[in-house]
Symmetry: C3
Subunit: 304 residues, 3 copies
Amino acid sequence: MRLLEELCRIQAPSGNEKSLSEYLLNYIEAQKVHWRTEPKVLSGEQFQDCILLVFGKPRSAIFAHMDSIGFTVRYGNELVQIGGPSIKSGYKLVGEDAQGKIECTLQYDEEAHALTYAYEREIERGTELVFKCNFRETDDTVQSCYMDNRLGVWSALQVAETLENGIIAFSSWEEHGGGSVAYLARYIYEHYGVRQALISDITWVTEGVKAGQGVAISMRDSLIPRRAYVQKIIGIAKASGIPYQLEVEGAGGSDAKELQYSAYPWDWCFVGAPEDNVHTPDEIVHKKDIESMVALYRELMAKL
Amino acid sequence: MRLLEELCRIQAPSGNEKSLSEYLLNYIEAQKVHWRTEPKVLSGEQFQDCILLVFGKPRSAIFAHMDSIGFTVRYGNELVQIGGPSIKSGYKLVGEDAQGKIECTLQYDEEAHALTYAYEREIERGTELVFKCNFRETDDTVQSCYMDNRLGVWSALQVAETLENGIIAFSSWEEHGGGSVAYLARYIYEHYGVRQALISDITWVTEGVKAGQGVAISMRDSLIPRRAYVQKIIGIAKASGIPYQLEVEGAGGSDAKELQYSAYPWDWCFVGAPEDNVHTPDEIVHKKDIESMVALYRELMAKL
Amino acid sequence: MRLLEELCRIQAPSGNEKSLSEYLLNYIEAQKVHWRTEPKVLSGEQFQDCILLVFGKPRSAIFAHMDSIGFTVRYGNELVQIGGPSIKSGYKLVGEDAQGKIECTLQYDEEAHALTYAYEREIERGTELVFKCNFRETDDTVQSCYMDNRLGVWSALQVAETLENGIIAFSSWEEHGGGSVAYLARYIYEHYGVRQALISDITWVTEGVKAGQGVAISMRDSLIPRRAYVQKIIGIAKASGIPYQLEVEGAGGSDAKELQYSAYPWDWCFVGAPEDNVHTPDEIVHKKDIESMVALYRELMAKL
């Protein structure tokens, strides 16, 4: 879990994924020679801060978003949200401006709807702040801010080790409404004819999806994937013997939103471990669900 | 109205349009040899469950969505909505899971905002339920669930009989936010250069649009079509002598949303009969409005 | 400011930008021979009512929306909004229907949420009404309805005079959710490989952005542009010595929305003068902010 911890510690709120992107490019460069198949690595201005890994003759693509929720400094000590972070007075936030590194405290006045920071000096306008990382591991669980979605990224990197045919896309802006998957989807469809997607992201522990009972296959959230594709995925999962749970929600979304509305006929399905304490500094995931997430992705990328 | 009744009886909620798509493909295969012009039929994985019919040298395209509103079984006896169905305790719902065919009853507890079904056994997670069809016909009206939009599909099939130049697109997901028109629009624009659209769908009886007074031409809903195109359509309608009504709304939407936001310069206009009891099992449409809908589409496809 | 006044007086609500588009095409035709570089002018049905000006070898594009907020006549004396105009009883509205020119009065009954007009006769269904223009100029300010965004258009025309390499796009529908930038962005990217955008539009005077202190560079609004691109722009502004202010908001949007969600990897940044009395007939802008807006656009188009 060393790699996962390092991923969780990197500051990369939506719109500024650069540091994580550079970390991943270095990691991939160093590791890819040890992987079963060496992928083609696509990055650079044409992909903004995103990365595409193309293995063999791809039939399906994994999308894992790099960005996290956070806060932007507005005027005075005001904050505005990046995505939908949990808001609770006392959370520790970190960042950096021209005057140096920052560790400050979130303050929320519910009555006035006032979101501010407490710090010894004024922080520069536009500075980004993220949750301070407190990475915790037990025999059964891992816990930290940003399991969503550093764990989805981590899982994709595990899958990369043995992947023979397929694409892995590391995307941006997911927590704040999207903005990269549309062009990644176009590029992939036009260059490789691929239109089958798996969304490698983290979902919620609920009354229907419990910690430790396997990776969740989402039959729907606020959007509804094409039934025939979801059934194919459930069929592969069933045959594999890997533990999984079926999720059915009326809310929530993911990178799939951009695939659903894209000008290319993508099929998609969200497949990911569930977490508790969603969008707080204390997101917690059961290790068995991480295990089955990686195992199911390996199976799906081989069989789809 | 036999064909319309059959269309209304087919289960095809957003995301699972397959049964209706197969029914239409069979119907088209059997009928097209009797039509004035035999269309090219485009379908298959590249179009998911959608269908394109291309007649002669097309200048305009009709979009008719196949999907309907409904419900998905969540956990226990909970339901989540597909699109925006009317919710009233007592509505009969039908569906099927691995244990067999289902006919159950909708329950809505307004205070608890709890949407559930009553049935003799637990229904499998993710099962789709739709309104039970009770098709009723009088001298003046037809009534059933899903007139929206089986009537729009039916009308397009009537137009197909004599169409010489044009495209008919049967689309998916309209009731749940869309997801197919974006790629159909791209395909049509790129392959045929067509950018004029008519939305063959059903609208609302209101204080300004009355049952029996003609098909509605919508000047706007939540979106605003390009005025020059709407005026051209109104001009053709006026000259034709076919009864029509002008609609002006600030809410509501259609497949046009995806055309408006597409990366291709589509003009669009919603043209459809009005119904009462919108999104209930009792949607009712006046036969005169159905007649003028088909007549105006024939005129528009010839003149646009 | 004669040209600005003429632009403010032209009726062009979202969806009916034709009159302004024709005015601009005439203006450009007459003026372009006097500009440092004569641009290629792209317009016509393929661009609906939009216009593209292509100068030299472009690296960046300015987007300035032509359309304005307004109202559509519904049934009886009801009105529905085009975009989000300020609503206050007594505002003068103008328009035209088949019976002639109209000058009527807005009425708003807050309790009944009833938006109507007062006029001597019934206005035809679907007629568009806009604020009556009262253009006012002092030594320091200009004031009128529709500074947003006739001033953004005007500024782009000033920049055109000396532009050597770049694209200027005059867009439609911005005030009502968009609908043209998606295809303009595709066209520009495919034909010129350009993916750097500046949004030439008007923002708000707030506690952090004051009138007279320089053009605003927006670090974010409801959407978050890529940080690396915004930093490049701030760097150019800083080096130039031109007065500017940094804006950070959690709400509001612009033509950038369509760039953010487009299937092409556009970078974008909103750069525009702030106004007070937003979306009323009395929008007011400081002349110093207009000056620095034009100056900064010249610098950015040269340096980006």
